[in-house]
Amino acid sequence: MRIKIYSLAVVLFLATLITACKNDLEEVVYSDVTSSNYNYDNPNSAIGVVYTNTRDLFGHQNYYMLQETTSDELVMPANASGWDDGGIYKHMHLHTFNSEDPQLNNMFNRLYAGVINANRIIEQIESGVIAPPSGVSKESLTGEIRVARAFYYWLICDNFGNAPLVTNTADKSLPSTSSRKDIYNFVVTEITAALPSLSENRDKSMYGRFNKWAAKALLANVYLNAQVYSGETKWAECLAQCNDIIGKYSLESNYPDIFKAQNENSPEIIFAVPFDQTLAQGFFVEMYSWHGALKGKKNMQATPWGSGSAMAVSQFVDTYSPNDERLGDSWLIGPQFAVDGSPLLGSYDQAGKPINFTKDLPDGLFTGESEGYRMNKFEVQLNAMQNLNNDFPFFRYEQVLMMKAECLLRTGDAGQAAALVSEVRTRAFKKTPGEAPVTAAALQQNSVYKFGYVEKYKIVDAGDQSTIQYGRFLDELGYEFAWEGFRRRDDIRFGVYTKKSWLSHKPMGDGKILFPIPQPALNSNPNLKQNPGY
């Protein structure tokens, strides 16, 4: 009997013990927040990620250098400090890109992250999860995000051409490839539909965001290249968008001010990607263009990587007039000095000797440590950290003027085009104003670029020497927009990209106009088709 009582007591005790344990298996989050229990009460915070996605495009292994180093403007050769990285930078210069080059995958993932975040935010605004701020309509906020999504799709269309076109988040099935033309049409339709609802504010409330004018600048750029994307020209449509913007912004009087570290109040900037050295990192062009010794030039906290790599193609520099102030404003040339005036010294082939950036390159594959003009366009502040503060001016007023000039030139109004270009050049020839004006006839001439394949500092094979239509105008674009990520697109539009030779580059065929779809994307989605020729 006693045993039974004991047993009963034990059983009761144990039963209590088990039930006292928390037996439910719901996950309890402590240092995490889930979307289901987060309150999207700050609309700016809720939509912000659509814009912050653009910052990652500016690394040396992403969109930015893909636009520059595949062109006749920049090259990233190896040197004694390294910079080979398995040959991935060479591939860009030589147009031997393959689907495994990591830059392509980086760009692909970044652009689609922008698209997918935009899809989700559009749905959240429409379903009321995200409420627009007071004074802003749901339609207007949705419109802004649709334009941001169109911006990413424009870059997808421009770089990859044929790619997935996904507009919602619910469907997790694997998308198939949409044609470049379909994506182009989607971009145009979306921007056009959103335009009426967009904010016309040009103050800081819309800085770094798509107001109506930034959207129009985007649409103008899309139209400008419409022939490449769709086979049809859209000069008139481009011109119309440019005309709408003209008068809303103005030129900086001083060219370098557009690119200075605190450039967020520039009247010339229409759409910027804002950067900050601590809070909004991602812009560090000096790290991959400058020589490590140039740390001393600005008492930098960081040391630029090796001997630097991103540098001017010598033939490109040769096109400048020596009096063009943009030459020195864009390129770092000649001997380099520390803040205290002492010369900065090399470590490899120039070990112990003063660094002196020289123009000529032996070829596009391996250079000396102080060969090649480096980046001087974006201000590097004293005591700069690795990441710079300069906002990247993605669309600026000058570019709208030049788009307008190109449309006029191509539609037969060379005179008015020349007037616009001359106006732009005034800022670049302050000391020799007589050189500023260009004539209508000049703009219709061939480029002054000395194309040809280089070995040991000399052109050994001129290659294709056929005339480039409006080549002089392309030269003007080069002077103005070096380091601004436009050159690949311009080279393609003017027919240089797949025809001409420069440095170690030889034409590799029209198939190279599109980058290959990255291998990881193909591997994970068999519905995708690789672009022709890869």
Binding site: S7, V10, L17, C21, L25, E27, V29, Y30, S31, D32, V33, T34, S35, S45, A46, G48, V49, Y51, T52, A78, S81, G82, D84, D85, G86, G87, N98, N109, Y112, V115, I116, R120, D171, K172, L174, P175, S205, Y207, G208, P274, L279, A280, G292, A293, Q301, A302, G306, S347, Y348, D349, A351, F366, N383, Q519, A521, L522, N523, S524, N525, Y534
Partner: protein, 1105 residues
């Protein structure tokens, strides 16, 4: 000599040995300890028989009453049969009848009858010779005194047994005779006592293991003979001798199918273990490790404090643990006090030193200068001669002390173990200091109905933190020190004439290794505190209820500081950088189990039911700061830096929690010791899964047939054991990290709105609400055999395991997903293999014995599918592993129909006249490497060994013993990444190169100066190796001291010699992925930054007081 309860419970040898001499009251404790049920008194016996053997008589007692009979088989030799006619006789009456005229007597306590030989009284009648008293000391082969050894005069009933110190005294009726020494677990020895002899010292040899061995299984123990699944058990005397740093090294090469790799000589490293191939992807290969029933790691207890290690290999054995049983279960039992022994102290101490087994031979200064003379790109002569590896390495000296105090009285026993290890690594400053205290107390009360156990253990560890790591328990040695010491320009020097460190900050990945070592101050301190309490209650006959509660608490703290002379100031302007981290983990376990044993005639039933609740809680925080006013604070005053106020410092903290709840039960059934059945099920729930997928069921069933016990084999002398086993079981795996099913947000990105940066909402992951259990099912068929009284014995196992719903961070398409991986269940995979173990004693004489054992295992792995309805990895493969900067390619491919571990890259076939690779294109034709396309890549090798073989030998000769362990792995390739990176001329721009970097490739030309690094098959090399792993020579000092019972000294050498054609430093490379971080699917990479492998030399002594 066999000695057992006839009910079928064969006891551990050490307990039985003691039973012979112990006071009977103690039996209560022992039987209770073994969970044997109690019964009332007064049952009677009715039996009539003529010429009945004693064994039969004992069986009758047991079948008709609940009494157990305990006796030594040898005692019955020559006793003869008996006849009796009993009717409802009390047990004592029956015994008295049957023992009449026999030299046997008995004692009864509770319901255990212990049979003994009658004391040697009145046997001197008729003796004409003078009686003589013989004394002596009985020890085992290690000179440890053996108490309780039976000493009998052959042919008489005269007998005695040895005392606690192994001493005995026996009085012979005549002046000569033949003495027989017998004890459980030892070979019975007879020695003639000739006239005039008064002292006979004896050393008894251990008996080969047989079926009476007790094996620790899930939630209990089982006799080896009753086991139906694949379980390997290694006792401490068979552990690897010499210097060991964790539990896995104790059993390296001892268990077929268990691969233990020690890939480097870092004193804080633990072994990599892999059981029966790679079965799961996400959770690594590590088995579940339980120390005295509570989860822990291979370093939770000091290796010297371990009594035995049992490995549950197949699914039917591991399924009772459900989760985490997929990779097998390793059960570690710490040393226990033997019952009723007076306090005794054991001291084990050893000292070790190490050397790098094989160095990578880089160019010396003179050879390097030849490259400068040739104007090779990147070669620079600074005019000095420095051997950088010598600058950062030294000859280490390590010390290990283990002291244990044990004692036991009738109802209480205790163990106090203290272990201190002060380890030094071959790299300067790499060290590991650990103090392991442990106290365990067992107490029985209320006539053994209630038993209490308290076990308090833990460790206090400290080591140099050479790298800032966000996790404690990692981040010890900074691999950059070793890597840069290899590649640093040999014409350079560490410091200039003014004593300032020389740095070249404009070179990529290039830091002065001496400065790095000397200007990094760091200390990691980890404290572990484990409290385990058990209450066992035996309320009624045959029922045992056990409640176990434990808390495993870890506190880790790292402080790290880079001085103003450190590279971080030279290169990044940090001006002093500090880092502090704190981690706290707490694992709580509550387990309630009930066991019910019942024997009904030939049927034995054992039932287990249980409930388990586990909760794991992690909290950590860390912060960085830089720009300090002085180096004097180091990491101790982190607020003194200025970067924090500038918003440049990092502060983070996190907390996660997860829980497992399970219910389980098991039935073991045995009929006539011939037919065995075990069936179990565990239902387990985890918080980590999606709402509808929390619980999984993990059943198992196994059967065994003791063929030897069949009548047709019972009489066989040559065959001593033959058992066939077959089992099937399912185990599960949960994701390593919690919250993978939830759609989480982070706020670490800033967007620019209205002129200021604000935090924006950013999804943190691709959530997978459908996350569910990964399941592994396994079929195992095994055979246990023994011949010639088990002089030859062993096992053969064949298994096939299939894992389905494999959890992994699978690559998914962007779009539709935001990120390109998602933790999901998709793939299925198969492993099948064979394991063979042979133990033999080829030679045994009085003075000499040779024990040898051979283990062989082979495993074949195949990925079956890579998709399910949710995830369409329709390409049928994904790439894993990373060659590392500056080439950025995957090393390996996981592909349907292929084994894991395939190296995937370009197949180099030739080199062109200018020194550029020629590869085999997709069409099979050679093409220049410059024209490579992804489609040209091929499977170029496999990094997982197909065959493992090990051979262990023990020789004992008088007071000497010699252990030789050898092992090897065969049928695999290694990616020789040091050769790829350091023998390519293009890397001269990054530093020094290996000797032979300008040798001809394919006997044609050297690699061109501008040939980019390429991951080609030239660097995939055959990895087969055979290693003389350990040689230990021991000597037992013959002692005649009262204070010291025994002293053993030994010398040992580990990782002594490797036979291989592999060109790198050590073919024993990681069986996990090289960076150890993401996944296990890129094994076989010889990591260029790996801490060098070492050979270790040890001198040690073992004292028993």
């Amino acid at each position: 000599m066999k000695f057992y309860f006839q009910s079928g419970y064969r006891l551990p040898a050490f307990i039985l040995k003691l039973l012979l001499v112990m006071k009977l009251t103690l039996i209560l404790l022992v039987t209770a300890f073994l969970q044997i049920s109690h019964a009332g008194y007064g049952q009677t016996i009715t039996y009539k028989g003529n010429d009945v053997s004693m064994e039969k008589f004992f069986q009758v007692i047991q079948s008709q009453t609940s009494f157990k009979v305990l006796y030594a088989e040898e005692m019955l030799a020559g006793i003869g049969n008996t006849s009796f006619n009993l009717k409802a006789a009390e047990v004592e009456e029956a015994l008295n009848v049957c023992f009449k005229n026999k030299p046997l007597t008995y004692t009864i306590n509770n319901n255990v009858i212990v049979i003994k030989l009658k004391p040697a009284l009145a046997f001197t009648q008729g003796s004409v010779q003078q009686p003589v008293t013989i004394t002596g000391k009985i020890t085992d082969m290690q000179n440890v005194p053996l108490p309780g050894v039976n000493v009998t005069l052959v042919g008489s009933a005269i007998g005695t047994s040895s005392d606690t110190y192994g001493n005995y005294q026996i009085r012979l009726p005549g002046n000569s005779g033949r003495l027989r020494f017998s004890s459980i677990g030892f070979i019975t020895t007879e020695i003639a006592a000739t006239a005039g002899t008064t002292v006979i010292d004896v050393r008894l040899k251990e008996e080969p293991r047989d079926l009476t061995e007790v094996i620790v299984v899930g939630y209990g123990t089982q006799r080896k003979g009753d086991i139906t699944s694949s379980i390997a058990s290694v006792k401490s005397e068979n552990f690897v001798k010499g210097s060991v740093t964790d539990a896995a090294q104790l059993v390296r090469g001892k268990v077929a199918g268990l691969a233990v790799a020690t890939t480097d000589g870092n004193p804080t490293s633990t072994s990599q273990i892999n059981l029966r191939g790679i079965t799961t992807l996400l959770s690594g290969t590590s088995p579940l490790v339980l120390i005295d029933g509570v989860p822990g790691t291979l370093t939770t207890v000091a290796p010297e404090d371990i009594e035995s290690i049992d490995v549950l290999k197949d699914g039917s054995a591991a399924a009772i643990y459900g989760t985490r049983g997929t990779n097998g279960v390793i059960l570690i039992t710490t040393k226990k006090a033997k019952a009723n022994t007076p306090p005794g102290i054991e001291l084990n101490t050893y000292f070790t030193t190490q050397r790098i087994t094989k160095k990578l031979e880089f160019l010396n200064a003179d050879e390097y200068r030849q490259l400068v003379a040739q104007n090779r790109p990147g070669a620079t002569d600074y005019g000095f001669n420095t051997n950088w590896l010598d600058q950062v390495t030294h000859t280490p000296f390590s010390q290990v002390y283990n002291m244990s105090l044990k004692g036991a009285t009738e109802n209480t026993n205790y163990v106090v173990n203290l272990n201190y290890r002060r380890l030094q690594g071959i790299m300067k400053q790499s060290d590991n200091d650990v103090l392991y205290p442990r106290i365990e107390v067992n107490h029985a009360m209320f006539d053994g109905k209630l038993k209490l156990n308290a076990n308090i253990s833990g460790f206090q560890q400290r080591y140099y933190a050479g790298a800032a790591s966000t996790n404690t328990f990692t981040g010890t040695y900074n691999p950059t020190v070793y890597r840069t010491a290899l590649i640093y320009n040999p014409t350079d020097r560490p410091k200039d004439d003014n004593g300032n460190y020389i740095e070249h900050p404009d070179k990529t990945d290039y830091q002065n290794p001496v400065s790095l070592l000397e200007n990094t101050i760091g200390l990691t301190k980890n404290n572990n505190f484990r409290t385990i309490g058990t209450i066992t209650y035996l309320p009624v006959k045959d029922l045992n209820i056990k409640l176990l509660g434990s808390r495993d608490l870890n506190n880790g703290n790292t402080g790290y500081y880079e001085t103003k002379k450190h590279y971080s100031t030279v290169h990044d302007g940090r001006n002093g950088f500090a880092y502090v981290s704190n981690t706290r983990t707490q694992e709580d376990l509550l387990e309630l189990t009930a066991t019910y044993n019942k024997t009904i005639k030939d049927h034995q039933i054992n039932l287990l039911g249980g409930y388990s609740w586990r909760q794991f809680d992690v909290q950590n925080s860390y912060m960085t700061n830089f720009d300090f006013p002085t180096d004097d604070f180091t990491y101790n005053n982190i607020a003194a830096g200025l970067a924090l106020s500038r918003g440049q410092a990092t502060i983070r903290s996190l907390r996660t929690q997860n829980k497992l709840i399970s219910y389980f039960s098991r039935l073991n059934y045995s009929y006539m010791d011939k037919y065995l059945l075990s069936a179990s099920i565990r239902r387990e729930g985890s918080t980590k899964f999606g709402a509808n997928n929390k619980y999984g069921n993990f059943p198992a069933v196994s059967v065994g047939w003791n063929i030897k016990n069949e009548d047709f084999l019972k009489e066989s002398n040559s065959l001593s054991n033959l058992k066939l086993r077959a089992g099937y079981g399912i185990t599960g795996t949960e994701p390593a990290m919690p919250y993978q099913s939830l759609d989480r947000l982070n706020f670490d990105t800033y967007g620019y709105f209205n002129g200021q940066f604000i935090q924006v909402v950013n999804p943190a992951n691709n959530a997978n609400p459908d996350l569910r259990w990964e399941r592994k099912s396994e079929v195992n068929i095994g055979l246990d055999y023994g011949f010639l009284k088990n002089r030859i014995s062993g096992t053969v196992d064949v298994y096939r395991r299939k894992t389905t719903d494999l959890l992994f961070a699978y690559p998914v398409a962007v779009p539709p997903y935001l990120y390109n991986t998602i933790v999901a269940n998709a793939a299925s995979m198969r492993n099948e293999g064979i394991e063979v173990q042979i133990n033999a004693i080829p030679v045994t004489t009085t003075d000499f014995q040779w024990n040898t054992s051979v283990n062989y295992s082979t495993n074949r792995n195949k990925l079956l599918t890579l998709s399910d309805e949710n995830f369409q990895l329709a390409s049928g493969f994904f790439d894993v592993g990373n060659t590392g900067e500056p080439i950025q390619q995957a090393t390996s491919r996981v592909q349907i129909g292929q084994p894991l571990g395939n190296f995937y890259g370009f197949k180099s076939v030739d080199i062109d006249a200018t020194g550029h690779w020629i590869i085999e294109g997709a069409d099979g034709n050679p093409k220049p490497i410059a024209n490579q396309q992804a489609s040209d890549k091929k499977i170029i090798g496999n990094g997982i060994p197909k065959h493992y073989l090990s051979w262990n030998n023990t020789f004992t000769y008088k007071q000497f013993d010699l252990n030789i362990s050898m092992r090897g792995a065969f049928g695999f390739q290694i990616f020789n990444s040091p050769q790829l990176f350091y023998s390519a001329p293009v890397m001269l721009t990054r530093g020094n190169l290996l000797k032979g970097s300008y040798d001809n490739i394919y006997d044609k030309v050297p690699l061109a100066d501008d040939q980019s690094l390429q991951y080609v098959s030239y660097y995939i090399q055959k990895g087969d190796f055979w290693k003389i792993d350990n040689i230990t020579l021991g000597y037992n000092l013959p002692l005649k001291l009262k204070a010291v019972k025994s002293i053993r000294v030994y010398a040992s050498a580990s990782n002594l010699k490797t036979f291989t054609s592999y060109k790198g430093i050590d073919p024993e490379v990681s069986i996990l992925t090289s960076d150890n971080s993401s996944n296990i699917m890129a094994p076989g990479v010889d990591d260029k930054n790996r801490y060098p492998a070492t050979s270790t030399y040890t001198l040690g002594a073992f004292f028993t007081f």
